[in-house]
């Protein structure tokens, strides 16, 4: 759940969020014609909506579009390629490889956020909302030729829950969406912990084509989780990292050389740390993908990625923040989920490229440790800044100023409601700084010119370092005038995390990407509970109680009904307001994903950060 990084040199970002993978800035993609033959054939087949994979068409077989005679090779720059196992936490580059090789029961369609069937023909939910029964498609095969059966899911999800290699087990074992299971007590580091009891997952293969899953409790967004990357099926017994299986290959081979899935592409070759080549699967069960081959080269340096784009070796690319000029953007079209499409130019090679941006479903903020920074200081800092300046001066106008925890796409009522609620209710000045108010708050709390407060702001120096430096300077200048001496420190991301967990930081950069489109996924952090980095529990108030109660309401209304949804929406807004009241965060911005492409290719518009970062829908002009 790391912040999408627009300008990093090192690019070792880690995120558990799968659906918004594909880091906004780290992908550059080339459409080049011809593999070996230096080709002249540009025959783009298919794909203006290729990312749908034609799931609702049942058993339609896309292979008649003829991927075999084609020679469309896409070349793609990715920031890293390390481990493609669905149950591992992956970097942005590995995630893109994984998205192409694996697929899930459901998927998000282009242009929408309602999951549609991908590997199933039909499904039903029991009346109590607990048991999901899926009828699998009978024409799906793995890249190794095996047919997909229900037993593969039983194996794959047991791996997710029990394997030592799994780092994503909590997607099905913890939180709102839980597959029913049993736990056992284990002592870790002298403390007793409840851990998963291997083999107890309530996933059953009724027969080859029928899968039955029982949840711990009903969950309104369950279908999203069945579309989540970690829940991708792998062939039963492919690796021997859970009980009862010896494994057909070594873990290292499966995870880094030869991942086997049901996605539109299969691995062609992997040269570790340098290049991954995937080819379209022959006779793929869904819609035939556009490019026959995608060659992904590992390039970390943004300058190098940009050079390739300016040389036009690449047709789809990123412009690093340091070279981004907002005045070159002109937006022609805005779609339903605030995807924007337009042009950008002229570039330094005099071309004008196509340009799109989309909501990354991410909220970046500065966290206060409430046990170290008292409320008047938190409030004063909130008064003193204008989030618009963060976006304009820090991120060159790319992104939305953040006022709520929930990003605009998932806020109850959408972007309009988001803006309206913030404008009417944000106590610390909507799109304006209120330095006078900030001074008053500080003075009432006993601070003044002769008794100044002092806190330290810790920034990460490996994600958008330039932008954060500019923003930190903005905050420091404001803090100066409201009796706060702000010291700025920089550290790598993982050091900040480590120090934050240990409770050694006052105020620091962090953010969270959503895994499924509900404010709940963001607001789960916005309440007083043990283990919260904000440590709200240690500075209790009416507001913290309000947040706790509202969270309780959310927990009691997880059924997939309209009434429950209404109750949840109201509770979300109460939580947002409680968070404002105690000023436990200084919200920053909601980043937007961006992509540029030349006219030679046609690129489907990325819908949102929840969608897989797939390039199977690219077609050649």
């Amino acid at each position: 759940m790391s912040e999408p990084d627009n300008d990093s040199q090192t690019g070792q970002s880690r995120r558990t969020i799968l659906k918004s993978a594909g880091g906004v800035a780290t992908v550059a993609l080339a459409g080049c014609l011809g593999g070996d033959d230096d080709g002249d054939s540009g025959g783009g087949n298919g794909g203006e909506n290729g990312s749908e994979n034609g799931s609702e068409n049942g058993g339609e077989n896309g292979s008649e579009n003829g991927t075999s005679n084609g020679s469309n090779v896409l070349s793609l720059s990715i920031p890293e390629a390390a481990n493609f196992d669905p149950v591992r936490i992956k970097g942005d580059g590995s995630q893109i490889v994984s998205d192409h090789v694996f697929s899930e029961l459901f998927t998000l369609p282009q242009g929408g956020l309602e999951p549609t069937a991908q590997l199933v023909t039909d499904y039903s939910v029991s009346d109590d909302g607990l048991t999901y029964t899926f009828t699998l498609r009978d024409d799906v095969t793995f890249d190794n030729g095996d047919q997909l059966t229900a037993q593969d899911f039983v194996y794959s999800w047991e791996r997710l829950a029990a394997s030592d290699n799994s780092q994503e087990g909590e997607t099905i074992l913890e939180g709102g969406f839980q597959i029913a299971h049993e736990t056992t007590t284990e002592t870790v580091d002298g403390e007793e912990q409840e851990v998963y009891q291997p083999g107890s997952l309530a996933v059953e293969a009724v027969d080859e084509g029928t899968l039955e899953v029982t949840l711990e409790s009903p969950f309104y967004d369950a279908l999203f989780w069945f579309a989540y990357g970690s829940l991708s099926p792998v062939p039963e017994g492919v690796v021997g990292d859970i009980e009862g299986y010896d494994g057909e290959m070594d873990y290292a081979e499966f995870s880094s050389q030869n991942p086997v899935g049901t996605g539109p592409y299969e691995i062609d070759s992997v040269e570790t740390g340098t290049e991954v080549v995937v080819s379209a699967v022959d006779g793929y069960h869904g819609e035939a993908p556009g490019p026959d081959q995608i060659s992904m080269q590992v390039v970390e340096n943004t300058d190098a990625i940009f050079r390739r784009a300016m040389n036009r070796n690449v047709d789809v690319f990123q412009v690093p923040n340091s070279r981004f000029d907002p005045s070159k953007v002109s937006i022609n079209e805005t779609r339903e989920l605030s995807q924007k499409v337009g042009t950008y130019g002229p570039l330094e090679n005099d071309e004008t490229a196509n340009y799109m941006t989309w909501d990354e479903a991410y909220t970046a903020y500065f966290i206060f440790d409430c046990s170290r920074v008292e409320k008047p200081i938190r409030q004063a800092l909130n008064y003193a800044v204008n989030q618009e300046n963060f976006v304009e001066q820090g991120f060159r106008g790319v992104g939305e100023p953040a006022y709520h925890q929930a990003p605009p796409t998932v806020y109850p009522g959408g972007k309009e409601a988001y803006d309206q609620h913030a404008e009417e209710n944000f106590p610390y000045g909507y799109r304006e700084a209120q330095v006078g108010q900030a001074q008053t708050v500080m003075e009432e709390a006993g601070y003044g010119e002769n008794s100044r407060a002092s806190i330290t702001l810790s920034l990460y120096n490996d994600r958008n370092p330039d932008a954060y430096s500019r923003i930190a300077e903005l905050i420091r200048a404001k803090a100066e005038s409201i009796y706060i001496d702000l010291e700025i420190e920089r550290a790598p991301f993982n050091t900040i995390i480590d120090e934050a967990v240990s409770g050694n930081l006052d105020m620091y950069t962090l953010g969270n990407g959503l895994e499924y489109p509900s404010p709940q996924d963001m607001l789960k952090f916005g309440r007083p509970y043990e283990g919260n980095l904000v440590r709200w529990r240690e500075d209790p108030s009416d507001a913290s109680e309000q947040a706790a109660n509202a969270w309780e309401t959310v927990q009691n209304n997880l059924e997939p009904t309209d009434a429950a949804q209404q109750a949840r929406s109201e509770a979300y807004i109460q939580m947002e307001e409680a968070i404002w009241q105690d000023a436990i965060y200084l919200t920053n911005y909601h980043p937007r994903g961006r992509q540029w492409w030349y006219d030679d290719v046609d690129v489907p518009v990325q819908t949102s950060g929840f969608h897989d970062r797939l390039f199977d829908g690219v077609s050649f002009e």
Partner: protein
């Protein structure tokens, strides 16, 4: 003491060096602020995630007392059990990672050493033989300018220049000059045996090698000029000239061979470029070699990977040093290792 004994002594002395270097790596990663488990997990804004952090720390053995971790780490290294990467390439053997990343860096380093040797030294000798002429000044100034340009700057400039080189290379840009390659990217070393594969891989690496070698090129130019100047003013050169030794033979046999002695440590020290100095150039030119791997491993706190790489680097350095001492005796028989 004969040469063999000397060699044995050097190898024995290398052990403390190894121990010190690997210990320093351990100290930097484990006693510093880097937490590899946090690098794996990412933000841990909940009790569950913190439990997960603890579980991963437990899995990696990070909760054991520090001396136990250290003992295990050192024993593994010195028994050549280099282990698996934790963070950067999780689950992969460091040995196989070395085998995959190593060749690209060696290829880069090879050319980065060869280019200065074949351009810098001849230029320096030329300048030394034509001392205080305009030709000398031109060569010397070039050398100083090369020496002064920092790698990171030159790399970016060269990248931009080659990208816009449409008119420079016989009407075609660098990318399509002689053979089609991209400016950015790792060379394909799988078909080095074929002429085409060799040319492609060489062309692909040349810009990066040129940048990496530029500083050494300046060094070698200046040093070889000085060395030639010193030798050429020696009495034995006058003597040789007086007895009628031809100019070609004079320069080849008497001047150059003697001038080589101070150059050897310079050239061998360039070989360290192979291990350490290539990080920046590798990153800018998209050559994902050992330098990049080491940098990533260090910043992510990937102890097994960083430790193993350090171990291998130190081994290499020590070997190069020993080789250098042996080379001295071959070039100049007057140098020996007998105790006086």
């Amino acid at each position: 003491m004969n040469r063999l004994l000397y060699l044995l002594k050097r190898i024995l002395l290398a052990i403390p060096v190894l121990l010190l270097g690997t210990t320093a790596t351990f100290a930097i990663i484990r006693l510093g602020p880097l937490n590899p488990a946090a690098a794996i997990v990412g933000p841990v804004n909940s009790a569950q995630a913190q439990e997960r952090l603890e579980r991963i720390e437990e899995q990696l053995g990070l909760n054991d007392p520090i001396h136990v971790q250290y003992a295990e780490y050192i024993t593994d290294l010195f028994t050549f059990d280099l282990g698996q990467s934790w963070v950067v390439y999780p689950g992969q053997d460091t040995v196989s990672l070395l085998a995959q990343f190593g060749p690209r860096t060696i290829w880069l380093g090879l050319w980065a050493v060869l280019i200065p040797v074949f351009i810098g030294i001849p230029l320096g000798i030329y300048a030394g033989l034509n001392v205080n002429t305009n030709r000398d000044y031109a060569a010397s100034i070039t050398g100083i300018v090369w020496r002064a340009m920092p790698n990171f700057w030159l790399a970016v400039i060269l990248l931009a220049l080659l990208s816009r080189s449409d008119t420079l290379f016989l009407g075609s840009g660098w990318e399509s000059f002689i053979i089609e390659t991209e400016i950015v990217g790792a060379p394909d070393l799988s078909s080095l045996g074929t002429p085409e594969g060799f040319v492609t891989a060489t062309k692909q690496i040349l810009p990066a090698a040129f940048v990496l070698g530029s500083a050494s090129m300046g060094n070698e130019l200046r040093l070889s000029r000085t060395a030639v100047l010193e030798i050429i003013n020696e009495d034995f050169i006058d003597t040789a000239q007086a007895v009628g030794v031809s100019r070609r033979r004079l320069i080849g046999k008497h001047v150059l061979r003697n001038a080589m002695i101070p150059l050897i440590p310079v050239i061998t020290s360039e070989a360290y470029i192979l291990v350490g100095g290539s990080v920046l150039v590798e990153v800018v030119f998209g050559i994902n070699g050992i330098g990049t791997l080491f940098f990533d491993a260090m910043t992510a706190g990937d102890l097994p990977l960083a430790g193993s790489l350090m171990f291998v680097f130190i081994l290499l350095t020590v070997c190069i040093n020993i080789m250098q001492d042996i080379l001295y005796t071959l070039i100049d028989p007057r140098i020996g290792y007998e105790e006086r």
